[in-house]
């Protein structure tokens, strides 16, 4: 800093006199680097840089994160999708952890290639290994914090491995997890480890690592003794080849091209720079090496940015387009880019109720995950504990092979061990990826199996649920989200689109079919014969097909063929069947009397049926949304005596001209009561009555059980009253919320159900 007579200078002189900071600074910056500054020394600094970035972004996240079973997902959601630049902060932290793991590998490789793990630097190697353990610990604990499905299920594998340690394992697991199952204390424990224990430990180890490092200085590669400079063209070609290889591998495993090119570009930049750099024999850290370190760090930062921006890891929130003149400006668009899908991945909220979630750890732990697959039964411990810990032990022992005449061998052994460990880990990772791939990998690496395709379905479903959860949590206005205080998992549990079909299958599907329908592109349907990977499921139905129930087409189909199994064919409901028989007989007579005239009359009747179907299909709407002309025409057809006379059995809302006032139309509820009422036919209220009290709709002929909540206070009284009135109708349990979920799904109203109240209005 400034010295001398300026005010600044005097101030710093004064500070230096009291603190001695200048000599401290010099001691730090003026490290001797014999052989001069080099690109190959940057990796350690890059690691430290990313760690500092993790600390900064981590503290930012703590500003808004809330560990807790009902709050964690919501708070991470809020960071990622609602807070200004939250997507960037979280994205950098998310990819920072992955970057650190990669850099650890590179740093380690560079250390053994230089032989820097050998005497007198053993302690530094050991400290490095401890640092690696801490970083992996941070990654593992961090992965759980968002409390999404992926972290929740993958981390259980890790804590179960802890539990498998003979003797003390079960105890340790219970303490770490904070009880027998995952919950609030799992999060508080992991959170404390992640932000309160492991980072300070890492800082401590890092400081020791650096102090010990300074004692012996950097290990210069053998080539710099003697000729002093590595043959320049060779180095340039090498850099270009490394860069190219990296780009190739990245593209192969599906990394975005911008990211791949930034990674490769770093090495190409190193290569090109060699034409401008003069090597010197001795140089200080400052500024030559510092400059290189900084450039490399900025490259790393740029790579992380490309991952956050182009990684495609977030989910886009679909919102209605902004009103004219209210479009977000450039700042808003950038600050809230999380809503466009930028940032880090957030899976659906953790839900212990989930069946068969395909838990996968973060990619850098996949090799350990894959290793587990090769050991059966009691051999499990070999894959889970013996091999990984054996590898660590081997790494710990490496420096001991560096004494005296063994040194050359030790150097060689280090390279062999580290390279083969990295290669095996890489290979196992590739195998794990291949095994999950629905299309086969080249070279018979795996994939393309039935299991993999099935798992792909499960992954796809998880992705759909993740997207849906985010959509339900968001409101149209950035900064306002709709997560209930019971916790984010309730969003999907009470989402008609997600839960409706499952509940339908469980409660209604025992009797009702649901054919695949173009109106439900995301539902596979519920049919007599389903081929699943585990075998063929055959179902026997006893009632109508409810696909598109209440639509014009459905009603028209019923009028055509009430006895068809997809209508009332399987039920004991006879009214409509008899009606149709009469129609058919009459038609046969018409044709017999006069073929021409008969055909005309049939066509006329068919038109009337079309009209009735159309009219009945709009009864589910509120009166004000119904087509008035159709109401008038429909009422006429409903009352038409030519065929069977609907109103002799059914009651409907008739829309007719007022008797007193000409030209004025009024509603009047009238008709018979042998068949079900058409008042509000197909509406949620109609279905609700049908579900809770089918006998009110179909009286004696009814065979559908009544579905009611039967375990709340007061429910028993209602049940007994109901049975007293309808003794033949069995009562089945169905909670209010589950019933509403089914009804909303049937009527394609996909808003979340909240204790019967709609809180979230996803597009209808």
């Amino acid at each position: 800093m400034h010295k001398g007579p300026t005010v600044f200078g005097k101030f710093f002189d004064w500070v230096d006199h009291r603190t001695g900071y200048r000599s401290f600074k010099d001691a730090v910056l003026l490290e001797h680097i014999s052989g001069g500054a080099r690109w190959r020394y940057v990796w350690g600094s890059c690691l430290a840089f990313v760690f500092i970035l993790q600390v900064i972004t981590g503290i930012m996240l703590m500003w808004s994160y809330s560990p807790g079973d009902s709050t964690a997902w919501g708070s991470v959601y809020f960071i990622q999708y609602e807070m200004d630049f939250g997507w960037l902060i979280r994205g950098l932290h998310h990819f920072g952890s992955q970057t650190m793991v990669v850099l650890l590998g590179v740093h380690m490789l560079q250390v053994v290639i230089a032989g820097a793990h050998l005497a007198p630097r053993e302690f530094n190697w050991w400290l490095g290994l401890l640092l690696m353990g801490v970083v992996l610990g941070l990654s593992l604990t961090g992965y759980l914090l968002p409390w999404d499905q992926k972290g929740y299920f993958a981390t259980q594998v890790a804590t179960n491995i802890l539990g498998s340690i003979p003797g003390i394992g079960a105890f340790l697991q219970k303490i770490l997890v904070g009880g027998p199952t995952y919950g609030n204390h799992t999060l508080t424990h992991f959170y404390t480890l992640h932000v309160g224990i492991l980072p300070p430990l890492l800082v401590l180890l890092l400081v020791l690592h650096l102090v010990v490092f300074r004692r012996h200085g950097i290990t210069t590669p053998p080539v710099s003794h003697g000729e002093g400079v590595l043959n320049r063209p060779v180095a340039v070609v090498r850099d270009f080849v490394i860069g190219g290889l990296i780009v190739g591998v990245c593209l192969f495993v599906g990394v975005h091209i911008v990211t791949a090119l930034t990674m490769g570009g770093m090495f190409w930049f190193f290569g090109v720079s060699r034409f401008f750099i003069q090597k010197r024999d001795v140089e200080y850290f400052w500024p030559g090496q510092a400059f290189r370190d900084l450039v490399a760090c900025l490259f790393i930062f740029a790579i992380m940015l490309t991952l956050v921006i182009w990684g495609g890891h977030g989910n886009k929130i679909e919102t209605p387009p902004a009103a004219e003149g209210q479009e977000p400006g450039l700042y808003e668009r950038m600050a809230q880019a999380g809503r466009d899908g930028l940032g880090a991945n957030l899976d659906a909220p953790a839900d212990p109720e989930t069946q068969g979630y395909p838990a996968r750890p973060e990619w850098y732990f996949l090799f350990l995950f894959q290793l587990l697959k090769y050991f059966e039964g009691p051999d499990f411990l070999i894959g889970a504990l013996v091999i990984p810990n054996g590898a660590m032990l081997l790494l710990f022992l490496l420096p001991l092979f560096g004494y005296g005449s063994m040194r050359k061998f030790g150097h060689f052994l280090g390279i062999v061990v580290v390279v083969s460990l990295l290669l095996s880990a890489g290979m196992l990772t590739l195998l794990a990826l291949a095994e999950d791939s629905p299309t086969p990998y080249p070279l018979n690496l795996g994939g393309g199996t039935k299991d993999a395709r099935e798992r792909k379905d499960r992954f796809d479903q998880a992705a759909i649920e993740a997207k849906r959860a985010v959509q339900l949590a968001a409101s149209a206005k950035p900064g306002e989200s709709n997560i209930p205080q019971e916790g984010a998992r309730e969003l999907l549990r009470k989402d008609p689109l997600t839960k409706g079909p499952k509940l339908f299958e469980m409660h209604c599907g025992v009797c009702h079919k649901f054919s695949p329908s173009p109106n439900r592109p995301d539902y596979k349907g519920w049919v007599e014969k389903e081929v699943t990977p585990t075998g063929v499921i055959v179902r026997v139905f006893k009632a109508s097909d409810l696909a598109d129930y209440g639509s014009e087409k459905w009603i028209r189909g019923l009028l055509d063929a009430p006895a068809d199994p997809k209508n009332f064919g399987l039920t004991k409901l006879d009214g409509m069947k008899k009606w149709r028989e009469k129609i058919n007989e009459a038609r046969a007579d018409w044709l017999k009397d006069n073929a021409e005239e008969g055909k005309r009359r049939i066509a006329e009747q068919e038109e009337k049926f079309d009209l009735i179907a159309k009219w009945l299909a709009q009864q589910k709407l509120e009166r004000k949304f119904r087509d008035k002309q159709l109401e008038i025409e429909g009422t006429k057809a409903f009352e038409h005596k030519g065929f069977g006379y609907c109103r002799s059995c059914h009651t409907a809302e008739l829309y007719k001209e007022d008797k007193k006032e000409k030209g004025k139309y009024v509603y009047e509820e009238d008709g018979g009561s042998d068949g079900p009422s058409f008042v509000g036919y197909g509406s949620q209220e109609w279905i609700r009555l049908m579900v809770m009290s089918p006998a009110l709709r179909y009286e004696r002929e009814n065979h559908m059980p009544a579905f009611r909540p039967i375990d709340g206070p007061g429910a028993e009284a209602l049940r007994q009253e109901f049975q007293a009135q309808f003794e033949n109708t069995p009562v089945m349990p169905l909670s209010d919320i589950d019933r509403e979920l089914i009804i909303r799904w049937l009527t394609r109203d996909y808003r979340v159900v909240f204790g019967g109240q709609t809180i979230s209005a996803a597009p209808k």
């Binding site: 630049f85 500024p287 900084l294 600050a335």
Partner: protein, 182 residues
Amino acid sequence: MADQERRTFLKFCVHGLGAVFAAVLGVPVVSYLIDPRRRQTAGGDLRPVSGIRLTELRMEIPVQGVIRDIRRDAWTLHPNDTVGRVWVMRTRDGNSAESFRVFTTECPHLGCSVNLNSDPSTGYTCPCHNGQFQLDGERIGHNPALRGMDSLEFEVDPADPDQLLVRFLKFRQTLAEKVVRT
């Protein structure tokens, strides 16, 4: 001297690149930290007061009512939560704008909830720093508050003569004048 120049150049680059990086990270970090500035206070619309039937109010005796509304707490949505309380007092017969007096219970000093004295005719006392107010909200005696209790705009529900509607707002504390807090 060439070496000196090279060193100077490199130092310049290091400082420059460092500054660029600090800006790229610094702007988002600051925006993120001050994100709460975008969050809005609940209220502002006419809301029904629950717990009070206007026709049953006795003259000059304040009764406390509750205002419920949507409340957003960062990520959590409370669809129907208590967002505030009001003291409502009848001052005259009928249901006109002069028939009632409505105050928020939030003390204008530092925001504690103001209590009605056990003898209602003597007015209100704040439990925190003994701010005392008359029934008309004016300050009494030596008082830490710089203004009287904050009155709120109200209307009687045209469809229900028992139902009071209040435009519930929060006001900044400690000031001598009433300023809405957003």
